[in-house]
């Protein structure tokens, strides 16, 4: 660090965290784009419920609990009143007690059983450990077991018949429990609670699948005469009750007011300094994150750094160890924690953190949830984690009851990161993140109707999902999957349908990525059919946890891509000739200069080749050809257009308009993903005329090119009519419900994108705002960034007026 004296700014000398925050602000004011202080909060308590079982009271007392936080008591009251309940509270606010208390109470009173669902296995293990501890504290005699792929065959029978609380995950429920429900008959007959933790992770495709698994679960419960109460817990999102209701299938009471105490929290948003203004290149987030952490640890504070990939964990750990663990005779002060480490190793690190033997841990999201690591002072995020909810969860790892804590979000150069650090409002206002699911997405629904029919024959008059069930059943009957006899549809296929339905994808056409490094055949990733052509072509560099793998062979029919780890200094970018035809306009808004619409589109995508682009400089260093069949897709989209007169007025040339629309699409794509809580890959973007007459693409020189149907280049000025549109489409066949909320937020998306580009530190445009700029200013004759702003300004202005 530079050598500013330590006592320059010290508003509160007593608290080392406040002191550090103040010093960072004073010294790096140009890098801190936003700051926020959340004042500390006193605990609000309520008495233990009178009816609480004496043994449970005793167990709580042994853990030092004489009363409940107000939200825990509110949850108790709602659940005991038989209401489906969602608890929305911050990290470390005692949310597990919200469901453990009523569940255990009922198990003691009536022998009621509970099913706990966690999105990952690691969380399940931690949960069972906690239950076992609580149980032993007062000899409650409650049996909690995990049931997942690791549960040995000979233990499964005991779990099914003896477990009071069974802890599992949605995939296991889908493939291992529901299709064998008769083995679980006893369990389902007494099932009274379904607990779903980390609700906010059930969104998008995964969420739509899980909502259907819950439909199946409720159907099976009805067969056994039970009607469980759903208890859900979620990080802060904009619509927890709505999402919870989609999973519970009924109205859900939301408890959002936490009674847990918290210390003062300081949040800094940190943008690394620009080191090359021409190319818009900033210093790496890594260098900044290490620097901040070093100064924290040097002051005797305990810290955690979250990195987005395993490899980044290793790099950061090395840098910090070079500083703090250079003396081999002393015990280590820095530890790494990530997936892929042995459980024993991870337990040891957790223990060292709790006991304070380690000063700093570098972790992936493996440490984000649940795991108890004691209290830390400082949390540094090396890159934006993708959602605000998860940012808060990670930052929540720092903070003790009565002491200040500091969180620093260090942005990478990705557009979403750049956008976030420049918009601290996102962290202060109500959550902008809507977790959206569309459980009636036709293919997903059809998959689960199949699975449900396998589990239990469908009777006429039954309900399952929002599409006409009988038509779906007849469709399957025509294929011979089902057979109708009287008023019932029965399974008639020699197969086990759940095995061919992955909860993480739409339909079953997924590709697997097979790593043949070191002669192996290890499956390291799964890629949705829709995104396979643009990511898995031969020659593509496919990144996993920032490690580059090159695709050597693509077996299109076998749905496999064979890759090998390859050290390269470039990434590949598919040249995407996507043309869209608007089939139906569902809704439209016409404003002064623009039209925004939502509707069904038919999309034909051709991937003729790819570019190799060098890291950092973004130079184009080569091309490759791709020969893949054209992809077709029907989906829904939102599109933005500027009226022809306004367009002619705004842009001196059609070429500029084209570049402006392409840049606008790039920025809008990324901010829309944020608003929809989606991965950027869940949405696609395109610029075209909506009639599939022409589409626009960024050519080898970095200039927008207008291409006709056959892929040939055309002169924009020569077109009789010129009505370009920015399309953002739902990147799954049939759509997964992203376009409706996108249309609702059309104004915000345009305004966010404008804000992103306008506040970017670059001159002509860069990968953080309008996309890589390959053509020079001179060859182009105008600034792509300015052109994008011209388009975005019109979309945004009309949006606010409308």
């Amino acid at each position: 660090m530079a050598s500013a004296p330590d006592n320059v700014v010290s508003p509160d000398f007593g608290d080392p965290v406040r002191r550090l925050a103040a010093q960072l602000k004073a010294k790096y004011s140009d890098r801190i784009t936003g700051e926020l202080t959340v004042p500390g909060r006193e605990a609000r308590y309520e008495p233990l419920p009178d009816e609480l079982d004496g043994r449970l009271k005793e167990a709580l007392r042994q853990r030092g609990l004489e009363q409940l936080y107000s939200h825990q008591r509110a949850a108790w009251d709602a659940i005991r009143a038989g209401q489906h309940t969602v608890v929305v509270t911050p990290t470390a606010s005692g949310k597990t007690l919200c469901y453990n208390l009523p569940v255990i109470q009922d198990a003691l009173e009536t022998g009621a059983k509970a099913l706990y669902l966690f999105p990952t296995k690691a969380l399940s293990q931690d949960q069972v450990a906690e239950l076992v501890e609580l149980n032993q504290a007062a000899e409650l005699g409650i049996r909690a077991y995990t049931f997942d792929g690791d549960t040995p065959g000979d233990a499964r029978q005991a779990v099914r018949t003896k477990g009071d609380i069974v802890v599992s995950n949605p995939d296991m429920l889908h493939q291992g429990v529901l299709p064998h429900h008769t083995k679980w008959a006893q369990f389902f007959e007494s099932l009274r609670y379904v607990v779903i933790d980390e609700l906010h992770t059930y969104r998008g495709v995964f969420g739509a699948h899980v909502a259907n698994v819950m439909r199946r679960l409720r159907r099976i419960c009805r067969f056994y005469g039970s009607e469980p109460i759903f208890i859900l817990s979620s990080a802060t999102i904009a619509n927890p009750a709505e999402l919870a209701q989609q999973l519970a299938g009924d109205a859900v009471t939301a408890i959002t007011d936490s009674g847990a105490p918290s210390g003062e929290k300081h949040l800094l948003l940190w943008n690394p300094p620009v080191v090359n203004a021409d190319l818009g290149i900033r210093a790496s987030a890594r260098s900044q994150a290490t620097r901040i952490t070093r100064s924290a640890v040097a002051r005797g504070l305990k810290g955690i750094i979250f990195a987005r990939s395993r490899i980044m964990v290793e790099i950061l750990t090395k840098y910090l160890k070079d500083t703090f663990d250079s003396d081999p005779r002393r015990p280590s002060r820095v530890a790494a924690y990530r997936g892929g480490y042995l459980p024993t190793e991870r337990r040891r690190t957790e223990q060292q953190l709790r006991s304070g033997d380690v000063d700093c841990v570098v972790a992936t999201s493996a440490l984000e949830l649940g795991v108890d690591i004691g209290a830390l002072d400082v949390c540094v995020l090396n890159g934006y984690p993708g959602t605000i909810a998860s940012t808060w969860q990670r930052i929540g790892r720092a903070g003790r009851r009565n002491r200040a804590s500091l969180g620093v979000v260090v942005a990478s150069s990705q557009p979403l990161d750049q956008y976030i650090v420049r918009n601290p409002d996102f962290f202060t206002g109500a959550s902008p993140e809507h977790a959206r699911i569309d459980p009636d997405q036709l293919l997903i629904l059809l998959d689960h109707v199949r699975c449900a029919a396998f589990e239990l024959s469908f009777q006429r008059g039954e309900c399952f999902g929002g599409e006409p069930l009988e038509e779906l059943l007849e469709y399957l009957a025509e294929q011979g999957v089902l057979h109708r006899e009287g008023d019932a549809w029965h399974w008639t296929e020699d197969s086990y349908p759940a095995n061919s339905v992955s909860l993480r994808s739409v339909a079953e056409g997924n590709f697997v990525v097979v790593d043949q490094t070191e002669g192996g055949r290890r499956i390291i990733a799964e890629v949705d059919y829709a995104s396979a052509p643009e990511t898995l072509y031969e020659g593509a560099i496919y990144l996993i946890q920032a490690v580059p793998y090159q695709v050597e062979y693509l077996d299109w029919d076998g749905r496999k891509a064979y890759v090998r780890e390859t050290p390269v200094d470039y990434y590949t970018d598919a040249i995407d000739y996507t043309r869209l035809k608007i089939l139906e306009n569902f809704e439209s808004e016409t404003a002064a200069d623009t039209d925004t619409s939502r509707g069904e589109v038919h999309l034909v995508r051709r991937i003729p080749g790819y570019k190799k682009i060098r890291y950092y400089s973004h130079e184009n260093i080569g091309f490759g050809k791709i020969s893949l069949p054209d992809q077709e897709m029907h989906t829904t989209a939102v599109w933005w257009q500027v009226h022809p007169e306004a367009l002619a007025e705004a842009f001196p040339s059609r070429q500029q308009a084209l570049d402006g629309f392409l840049g606008a699409a790039y920025a809008m794509h990324h901010v829309a993903a944020l608003r929809l809580m989606a991965e950027p890959g869940d949405l696609g973007r395109a610029v075209g005329d909506g009639d599939a007459e022409w589409f626009a693409t960024t050519g080898p020189g970095g200039r927008g090119q207008l291409r006709t149907l056959d892929g040939g280049e055309a002169d924009p000025e020569a077109q009789r009519e010129f009505r370009p549109a920015v399309f953002l489409y739902d990147n799954y066949p049939g759509g997964v419900g992203l376009s409706a909320p996108l249309f609702d937020q059309r104004a915000a998306v345009a305004a966010d994108a404008y804000e992103l580009v306008a506040s970017c530190g670059c001159e002509q445009g860069c990968p953080s705002c309008v996309g890589p700029i390959l053509a020079s200013e001179e060859s182009r004759g105008f600034s792509p960034r300015a052109a994008a702003l011209t388009a975005l300004e019109r979309f945004a202005r009309d949006g606010t007026q409308g």
Binding site: G509, R559, H634
Partner: protein, 404 residues
């Protein structure tokens, strides 16, 4: 767009179509095509022909039991039961079932709509073979629709009420759980739950897993009964026969399934005598002596285990000979034990050396010879033993000197 068209389009676009053309599917689709090319009456392949249950029953030699349930009853040649009676007089049981009463047996074999397991797998044919007053009878319950399941499970429960031991081949892990699950789905009692279950696959594997390429029923028939079924139906054909029937009213392949099931049941009964015999004299059947002896031992028949090993001593491996020595010693036959230990000890077998050292130390009170043996052993335990023997020997010598 109509729902169906939307679905078709979406499924094509999501890659489901080519993905479904994997090897297994092509094979089964080809099967269907072949089935479709057989001579068929006027009905097109996809049109469901209404099947008259009485006509079907007549065609299959069965009677109608209910709306969707037929029952076919055939007398079985008494030769099989006579052979079983004869076998039981000399070999009354197996390690897991010491006494077998032929009158209480219920041989069970099912045909299902698939092998995947799970609640969606239907048992459409349950064949039973039992020994009734008039002789052995095979009764087959055939579903002609899903509506027949409740009646099926009621019939099975009635059958089970007069039997006490289910005999099956792999039925413990396949047929019985499926019957239990489908009964549960139809809110019926699990029909076989109250009966003991003898799954012949376990004893068959015990005897022959290390001797035969596999222990499938057909292999057992070939190698124990010397029979090869010529016109049998491969396992995966049963589901197709059933699907042909429910989807298209095509009954052509049902007789084949019925006779396959009947043969399986008869085989089960005929395999029992050689299985009983082989548990008495494994070598005579080419069976695994050691595994058989272990099974007898596990089920408490130590004498029989020892006899089996003693009869086969010449061809036993070292570990098995040691086991024989252990059993002989426990039965008081120390001579046999010592003979085996000495023979093995001379070849350097450590466990035998240890046993013989113990024998000299504790039984013969000869610490010097014991020590000589013990010195051939290595390891901490052996060193401790040597030290103890040395002091014992020295003590004995000192006493001897005193005695002088």
């Amino acid at each position: 767009m109509a729902l169906k068209d939307r679905l078709n389009t979406l499924r094509r676009e999501s890659g489901v179509e080519p993905a479904s053309a994997s090897a297994g599917d092509v094979a089964s689709r080809l099967e269907r095509l072949r089935a479709g090319s057989r001579p068929r009456s006027s009905a097109p392949p996809d049109a469901k022909r209404p099947v008259d249950p009485h006509a079907l029953a007549a065609g299959l030699g069965a009677r109608v039991l209910g709306d969707y349930l037929l029952c076919r009853e055939v007398a079985v040649s008494a030769a099989a039961t006579e052979a079983l009676s004869a076998a039981l007089t000399t070999a009354p049981g197996l390690p897991e079932r010491s006494e077998i009463d032929p009158g209480s047996l219920l041989f069970v074999d099912t045909e299902t709509s698939g092998l995947a397991g799970g609640t969606g797998t239907l048992v459409f044919l349950v064949g039973l073979l039992r020994w009734e007053a008039a002789g052995p009878v095979c009764r087959q319950y055939l579903l002609t629709g899903f509506g027949g399941e409740p009646a099926l499970y009621q019939s099975l429960s009635a059958e089970a009420a007069t039997a006490s031991l289910v005999v099956s081949y792999n039925g413990k892990s396949f047929d019985a759980p499926l019957l239990r699950d489908r009964a549960c789905l139809n809110r019926q009692a699990s029909p076989l739950a109250a009966l003991a279950h003898l799954d012949l696959l376990a004893p068959m594997r015990r005897l022959f897993a290390t001797r035969w390429p596999d222990c499938r029923l057909a292999t057992a028939e070939a190698l124990l009964l010397g029979e090869h079924r010529s016109d049998d139906l491969p396992g995966d054909q049963a589901p197709l026969a059933w699907f042909d029937f429910v989807h298209r009213g095509d009954t052509q392949r049902l007789p084949g399934v019925l006779s396959h099931n009947e043969q399986d049941l008869v085989s089960l009964m005929r395999l029992l005598p050689p299985l009983l015999g082989a548990h008495q004299a494994p070598l005579a059947y080419g069976g695994d002596v050691a595994a058989t002896a272990r099974a007898w031992l596990r089920h408490g028949s130590e004498d029989r285990a020892r006899d089996l090993l003693a009869d086969a001593e010449a061809c036993l491996a070292d570990a098995e000979r040691l086991e024989l020595a252990r059993l002989a010693r426990r039965a008081g036959d120390r001579d046999t034990a010592v003979r085996i230990w000495r023979a093995l000890a001379e070849q350097g077998n450590e466990r035998a050396i240890e046993a013989i050292a113990k024998h000299y130390e504790h039984r013969l009170g000869d610490p010097s010879t014991a020590l000589a043996w013990a010195r051939r052993l290595s390891g901490l335990e052996a060193q401790r033993r040597c030290r103890r023997l040395e002091s014992k020997r020295d003590g004995a010598m000192a006493q001897g000197e005193l005695g002088l």
